[in-house]
């Protein structure tokens, strides 16, 4: 190796290092921002946990101090007065079943709308997607009448039915995008190998669209887990309330009676399982969403 090439190599390495350092320097504000955000979130959550074991007087008088004597009775009171445990299970059931049904209905529909060639396909796709633009409050009265007609008012199956129906437009919108990007040759090859139309869909195209299915599931899961409006209208029985509704009820009864410590205890009971669930699923959720964004 000549002296010249050595010098060139060194200067190249130097410029790469400089560039890396510049990039690192440029990332400092982002890290600072994210660090501050994380610190704020952790601080806020810690404050809520701390407030949940104080007396109401301590919550306001000594907002940042450790309580003189932890008031575990706040948790006892909330647990016995509200049904947050039951509501958590209800939410898991309602949202879990809804997400599965949404995919069962939307995946074949999206496959046909994106791959099949037939008259009116574009119009049909537009009709599906137009559903995204309908505001929920406009549907309250007709949906109430429909559900009452089939005796599903104030039932979890009724709420699931509504969730599935109203989530289909958005899911079809996402999945048609995924299905339309899959290569035609794979379908042709499967047909040549003797696969039926359903087998082509089930054995070839559906596995290829799994990143899209994961993305759609995650978006629907998060959306339905936090959904409040429809649950408020269609569920009245305390035993059938999902978590969002239960938290609202808790907030109302605690604030009107001035039981702020009890409210914070309720928030902790509701939030902790949700955070644990998120930690468990976070990698899959993030990878699913990233895949979705690329597609």
């Amino acid at each position: 190796m000549t002296q010249q090439s050595l010098t060139a190599g060194r200067s190249a390495a130097l410029s790469t290092r400089t560039r890396k350092r510049r990039i690192q320097l440029r990332q400092v504000p982002s890290y600072l921002f994210l660090g501050a955000w994380s610190a704020f979130t952790i601080l806020a959550l810690s404050w809520v946990v701390l407030a949940s074991v104080k007396t109401n007087r301590e919550v306001f008088r000594q907002p940042f101090q450790i309580p003189a004597e932890p008031q575990w009775v706040n948790y006892e009171r909330v647990w016995s007065n509200s049904q947050v445990g039951q509501s958590f299970l209800n939410s898991l059931l309602i949202v879990g079943v809804s997400v599965v049904l949404i995919l069962v209905v939307s995946a074949p529909a999206s496959y046909i709308l994106s791959r099949a060639r037939f008259k009116g396909r574009g119009l049909l796709t537009m009709i599906y997607i137009a559903g995204i633009g309908i505001p929920y409050p406009l549907l309250f009265i007709p949906l109430f009448a429909l559900l009452a007609g089939i005796k599903l008012i104030n039932t979890m199956p009724g709420l699931i039915l509504i969730y599935v129906s109203l989530s289909i437009p958005f899911t079809v919108y996402i999945l048609t995008g995924f299905f339309s990007t899959l290569p035609q040759e794979l379908e042709d090859a499967a047909v040549i190998d003797g696969a039926t139309d359903f087998q082509v869909f089930r054995k070839v195209m559906l596995p290829l669209a799994s990143p899209g299915l994961l993305t759609a599931s995650i978006f629907n899961f998060i959306g339905l887990w936090n959904e409040f409006q429809l649950a408020l209208i269609f569920i009245q029985d305390p035993d059938k309330r999902p978590l969002s509704l239960s938290l609202y009820t808790l907030k109302n009864s605690m604030t009107y009676s001035g039981d702020w410590a009890g409210l914070f205890a309720g928030v902790v009971i509701v939030v902790v399982p949700t955070i644990l669930l998120y930690i468990w699923l976070s990698e899959r959720m993030i990878s699913g969403m990233t895949l979705g964004s690329v597609k």
């Binding site: 306001f60 408020l232 009245q236 305390p238 009864s253 009107y256 702020w260």
Partner: protein, 432 residues
Amino acid sequence: MKKPLILMCVSLVLIAALGLGVVSAQEPVTLVFWSMWNETEGQARVLQTAIANFEAANPNINVEAVWNGRQNQTLVRTALSSGSQVIDLMDQDADQIAGGLMREGFALPLNDYLQQPAFDHEEVLAEVFLPSTLEMFALEGNIYQFPYIYNTVQFWYDKRIFAEVGAAVPQTWDDLLAVCSTLIDAGYAPIAAEGNEPGYAAFYLTEMLARLKGPGWLRQAAADATGEMWRDPAVLRAAQMTRTLWDNGCVPPETIGYVWPQGQTTLAFGTAAMELVGSWLPVELQTQTDPDFQWGGFSFPAIEGGVGSTSDVYALLLAFMINKDTAHPDEAFAFLRYVMSDEIQQLFTDESLVGVTNKYITWNPIIADASATAAAATSTYGDVDNVASLYSEYLNTILYPNYVSLWQGAVTPEAYIDMMATQTAEYWASHS
């Protein structure tokens, strides 16, 4: 000889039956009641007791309660509009019912029912109610609401602080300002308030105009399509009085940053001496105040030159409404009649620390002064002088935001008058 005896026996049986709230119908009846309470709240527990007792006395009647919480009226409206859900009776803030379901024609007139004998008194039921409660939201002579809980808006104060500084309960606006000075000199914040809670701030505007121009004037000003009523000198005076509270330090300057419930906690902790708010305040603060905290209440003071009186009461009632399409109006009213009994009304005030509408009931000592105010009322007006029930959109888009601007000192009293006059005219021009 036998006939009068039989008649007497029949009469006695009938009287006894009425006394126990027993309804004559024997076929099974289910009353569907949608409630504004959450099932764990104190008021809901009292209603649960009332339901259990009523069902025990009337084995053929089952009261099916649905505890919807404060969104109750919205849910009832959706359900009734769908035409597929049976709801026999519901409860909510009387102002909200008046501006909502009642105005939309869902309510059953109760005039005839109210002529029934009271549950446990000799007079007719209508006579058992505290003055000016039943008639408050009557429409063309018809009474559609059955009020059962009574909140008064008045100054709530810490009696120990008043005693310590030697302050008497203010009777006039000037007295109030003098008490403020005394409290400031003694190192107290005179008035606790919230910085940006429009409903709480507007208590002042409502009370000032009720004292200056009399109850009902504010609602006329709100409905004045020209907006010119807002240029009345009384409004300017009320606006100036609002700013005086801040400029004199009656309302401490740091209040501007308070978010509910921050302001009211200053009263609970003995930093501030009084607050203009509803009679629910002692309940909200009961776990924050000292055990020996002594609550007192007094009406918004009279204003020199004003036509209103301190016996005009700002009353926020909670009421039942029976659905006009119910298949069981007699049974639904029988339940309400029982809710109005001394036993259940006393339970409300004892267990939930709220005021009630039965005139024979002694309110919980913590709100004794509200009881005196309610009993002495010569007239009552609802939220924001009934603007909340009649013109809720106007209230939320014009009246509240502009008064909060004045409250926080963002506009001068003169600018506030201009804004109200102009925007009221514009509002009604676009809503004609």
